[in-house]
Amino acid sequence: MPPEAVTEHWGSEDARKQAAYLGMWVFIATEVLLFAALFTAYGVYRSVYPEAFRAAQLTMEVGLGTLNTFLLVTSSILVALGVHAVRGNRPGLGGALLLSAALLGVVFLAVKGVEYAHHVKEGGLPGDAYRFTEVPRVGASLFFTLYYLLTGVHALHVTVGVGVLTVLGVRSAAGTFSAAYATPVELGGMYWHLVDVVWLFVYPILYLS
């Protein structure tokens, strides 16, 4: 149950929930605009260097990217089921689902790490460090810079999300949440869906051509 003093400030748990939801939506809007700046940069440079971008895209490991897409979508489904379970007064099951989603997030990060390692070995590094001979430097080095930025900022969000889901999962399993008080779980779920949706834009523009 939420602490007394807090509910008093609100008058009712419903009003509190409404504010929490609104706050989360506004936060999501700010996140979308954060990525929007990167997507804009990507769009601009893609139109300036179409060939270099296409050539650089062909060197991406589509298999790993697809695997990651699959992992994130699955975890998003698990989170949705987890929220549903908590709302249906089964916090134990909900906790288990949230924790398994967090686990998939960790696997996602591991796959990303493997990918980064490959790029580093080949010399597909950002900016000054670019050593990749397969694709011409001008344009392609910008592609790689944007690749690291987009996936890096996204991975940062995944990391935060894994933390959030873990805390929520553990607390849910411990019985903190219930049908009467599921707001934190719902908000955590919204955040994870955001992370998923952003990836669904990052994936096609970086890996598929």
């Binding site: 400030h9 609104l22 706050g23 996140e31 929007a36 990167l38 601009v44 950002p126 900016g127 910008l142």
Partner: protein
């Protein structure tokens, strides 16, 4: 007349710790007030240093690099540490919950976090100053900002952190206004200041993330040579300008919209009349918030963007002027035939209207491509944005400070002194910036430490004006500090205002209201005579 009883928010815990850990929006507002005033003072010192250097041609007191660092520091402190947070974070925090009959903001802990983010960001930026300071100007234009050897990085990181503070504050206000209005307080009964803060918050949460990302990109470019904005690496410096102004043009409305809110309140209170065409003010607030996002290209007429782009951005810019004009007409309509009380907040209000009108008209002229090419990057741009930002934001800030001082601290200040200072300040501004319009028109470029001798008389005039200003501010600081302890007790509503915030005691108790406030009437209702109309 009740003396400030022990139950006021000021006496609820007197230790420093009780302030540093408070969740009370009023204390957070007061903390922001102190912090922003401090940075206003610091920014003012930098400004005086600049004006002194410009007193004579050639080297006066500092070299060119020191001058460049000085105007960067001045811009950064004034824009990010004073003008953007001053009214929303200080007065908004204090007043919005009081005005809508709430006990606090929606997320009090986040609110406290925004103070600490602000302090952290400010410290990082200032630390950069001790590391030598940046010399890029507050706009951080690439490719210079990515290649200069000065301490740009800490300033970028500092501003980035302050951006988070802004976002958190904005998010909090949006949630507060949506969910914590007292029963019966509908949207069309919201005080105009609340509307202004609400509109500002929308801009803050939508624009600031883009700024954050751009600053992060510049930082990255400096650290790993990312190449996004560097033509030598295939990047495009214009992309920086687009993204930067996508934020920073709306940011000028982050500075001016809250000011307009203050002015709407003060005009009603000191002419004892309902706000004239309340709805038009509300719609124009939202209109400005919206159109402000589509005008950024008017900063880039001289950058080589397409003629079509320039035309479109010029036309969109003029729309903003129309919305602003609606507000000016409505304030004049409110003043017209009101029973006007000449108090210091009203003097600042009149100053505000003059500066906004004059500076805005010149803005319209700048939005005309052909004229812009003559004035771009000259002192007349400096004069334009000082008229409108400093003239408007600082005027409104001072109006707010004087109008709500009794509310916040339960004391009055010496009215005659305050009126004198207000007149001094308004004339100081005019004397400082009118010569700068003339300088710019004659061709004096901005951001230069040196100039040919024939510009000197105008520079001397401008520096003289700046000294008047400095005296005015010192006077204000003096009598307000004195009044904190020795001012006459104010009573709950010394101005006899109908603003909702005056329905609680002055200074308010910790949870704002001893009895839940009722809202049978709209805001700013002075003339309550029933107008006969057909049933």
């Amino acid at each position: 007349m009740s003396p400030p009883a022990a139950e006021s928010y000021l006496s609820d815990g007197r230790t420093l710790w009780s302030w540093l850990t408070t969740h009370d929006h009023k204390r957070i507002g007061v903390m922001f007030l102190v912090l922003t005033l401090f940075f206003f003072f610091l920014g003012g010192l930098f400004a005086l240093a600049l004006r002194i250097e410009l007193l004579t041609p050639g080297r006066t007191v500092m070299g060119h690099l020191a001058y460049n660092r000085m105007f960067t520091l001045h811009g950064v402190t004034m824009v990010w540490l004073f003008m953007i947070p001053a009214i929303p974070s200080a007065f908004g925090n204090f007043l919005v919950p009081l005005m809508i009959g709430a006990r606090d903001v929606a997320f009090p802990r986040l609110n406290l976090a925004s103070v600490y983010l602000y302090v952290l960001g400010a410290s990082v930026a200032l630390w950069g100053m001790f590391e030598g300071g940046a010399d890029t100007g507050w706009t951080f234009y690439t490719p210079y900002s990515t290649t200069t050897g000065t301490a740009v990085l800490p300033v970028l990181v500092g501003v980035f952190i302050i951006g988070f503070s802004t976002i958190v504050t904005g998010l909090n206000f949006i949630a507060t206004v949506h969910t914590l209005r007292a029963p019966g307080l509908t949207w069309m009964k919201l005080p105009l200041f609340v509307w202004a803060i609400y509109g500002t918050s929308i801009i803050q949460v939508l624009a600031t993330p883009v700024l954050g990302m751009v600053l992060a990109l510049v930082a990255l470019e400096r650290v790993v040579g990312a190449g996004i904005f560097d033509p030598a690496r295939g990047g495009d410096p214009l992309l920086f300008q687009h993204l930067f102004w996508f934020y920073s043009h709306p940011a000028v409305y982050i500075m001016v919209l809250p000011s307009m809110g203050v002015i709407s309140e003060a005009v009603s209170a000191f002419s004892r009349k309902n706000a004239f065409s309340y709805r038009m003010i509300v719609y124009s607030t939202l209109g400005i918030a919206f159109v402000g996002f589509f005008t950024w290209g008017h900063h880039m007429f001289a950058s080589g963007q397409s003629t079509f782009g320039s035309g479109a951005f010029g036309a969109m810019s003029m729309l903003v002027a129309i919305f602003t004009a609606i507000k000016i007409f409505s304030w004049l309509g409110t003043l017209y035939r009101g029973s006007i009380a000449i108090e210091s907040p009203l003097l600042y209000t009149l100053g505000f209207m003059f500066f906004l009108f004059f500076g805005g008209m010149i803005g319209v002229a700048y939005a005309t491509t052909s004229l812009n090419l003559h004035w771009h990057d000259t002192y007349s741009v400096v004069a334009h944005f000082h008229f409108i930002m400093v003239g408007a934001t600082v005027m409104a800030f001072l109006a707010a400070l004087h109008y709500w001082f009794p509310k916040m601290f339960g004391r009055c200040f010496p009215a005659k002194l305050a009126n004198g200072a207000a007149v001094l300040i308004i004339f100081g501004f005019i004397a400082t910036f009118v010569p700068q319009f003339l300088l710019g028109n004659l061709g004096m470029p901005r951001r230069y430490a040196d100039y040919p001798p024939h510009f000197q008389s105008l520079h001397v005039a401008s520096t003289a004006g700046a000294s008047l200003l400095a005296f005015g501010f010192l006077a204000i600081a003096g009598y307000l500090a004195w009044s904190l302890r020795h001012g006459a007790l104010a009573g709950d509503n010394p101005w006899g205002s109908e603003g909702f915030e005056w329905r609680s005691a002055s200074p308010p108790p910790t949870h704002n209201f001893s009895t839940p406030p009722q809202y049978p009437t709209g805001p700013h209702e002075y003339s309550r005579e029933e107008v006969p109309h057909a049933a």
